[in-house]
Subunit: 234 residues, 2 copies
């Protein structure tokens, strides 16, 4: 964390301040960005006529901006117009906590909730650059190797930018709490950790022979932890 | 899928009908429940004063009802009152799809988006039964082994029930699309699958000696796929 909460930290308001178990909350950029940069799938929340929607979406981060594209963007922005308030949540399940009473059972997790306003990027050159940036964020140096996007492809992509106005991170990484009242009860107490890893690559069956796995794909080696791959690629 | 879309299927409206790539959508209970029962962390969307919030939350399912508890429930229901419209999304990242042009890069995933209205359950006996049901859903037969919850513990828990009014499942499990324009380009095409598994159990350091790993915990054996563990436990 930075020396002072004013340095490189988000300023929470009632919207983003963590009310429950505030000791687990972080507002500094390093904590928030570490979680955002370990993921590739966010849950984007938006409102249409009072109804909340939550859409899982591939995303990436540049500074204090988040980007995503796809149908959610189109639907939301068609309904709400540019500047619609959105919420972007990224979370990781890290483990199952079991104890000797029901009350201590829980999950370990990391999450970031970010707030801002969504803006559709329509300029074709900006969209083209962003598409390359996303490819390179996941697979460094790959965009330059690819068949360039056609104008029609660029037109089909809906691209959204959100400046993070506020964000909070929350981390729970505990073992089972031992409550006084639990003394003498038998059940096993502890944590079953959860890890997400890359499996064996599956070359496209339509393209033979498969080309070599180039350096841009190296972070996705079989057995790599997903978040290590994403952090390494970023 | 059932023989007839009327049998055991959700009826989509504009709210839940999948607009983009409808061939990937499913509305039958079997498809929706299979995804809901493979997960333990949902993203709950709710609205306070026009602002969307998305909170990751442990959940479980009984028939067409979803349950969760915690701070999100309290905050949302305090602001919106019982009957607030909510959206519950469960998703799994299954793989990274890479191809020979930027346009074909994507993620493989499964997701369910469910809609309904949240209702706070306040009856202490119902809360106690639900807490046991959640423990047993994750760890079959465990609730009876635990130190019973005190009245104070039951009071502290905010428990939410949502009847699923509409739900849609969406599944993408493809290899890289081979576009005609990509012919002759060199980059490797295919999928890097992603899998989430249980790690080595970590007994609570405060409780020695650790008791044995009982049958209720067997699905969480080291190396088990998380979704297999959750499906097996359900």
């Amino acid at each position: 964390m930075p020396q002072s909460p004013q340095d490189d930290a988000f300023t929470p308001t009632a919207r983003s301040r963590v009310a429950r178990r505030p000791q687990r909350a972080r507002y500094d950029e390093a904590s928030v960005f570490a979680i955002l940069d370990a993921g590739v799938m966010a849950h984007v929340g938006y409102v249409i006529d009072g109804q909340p929607f939550v859409t899982p979406t591939a995303y990436w981060r540049e500074g204090r901006r988040l980007y995503w594209h796809g149908a959610a963007a189109s639907r939301m922005l068609a309904a709400s117009g540019s500047g619609a308030p959105v919420s972007v949540t990224v979370s990781f399940l890290d483990g199952f906590v079991v104890g000797r009473s029901g009350f201590v059972h829980s999950l370990n997790y990391r999450s970031v909730m970010a707030f801002g306003r969504a803006r559709l990027i329509t300029d074709p050159a900006a969209k083209r650059a962003a598409m390359d940036a996303f490819i390179d964020r996941l697979y460094a140096g790959r965009a330059a190797q690819l068949r360039p996007a056609t104008d029609a492809e660029i037109t089909q992509i809906a691209l959204v930018e959100m400046e993070i106005e506020e964000a909070s991170a929350k981390v729970k990484d505990t073992s089972a709490t031992d409550l006084a009242a639990d003394a003498g009860w038998a059940p096993w107490s502890g944590v079953f950790p959860v890890e997400t890893r890359i499996g064996a690559p599956r070359p496209s069956p339509d393209i033979a022979p498969a080309g070599p796995l180039t350096a841009d794909l190296a972070p996705y080696a079989e057995g790599a932890r997903l978040e290590d791959a994403l952090t390494r690629a970023a």
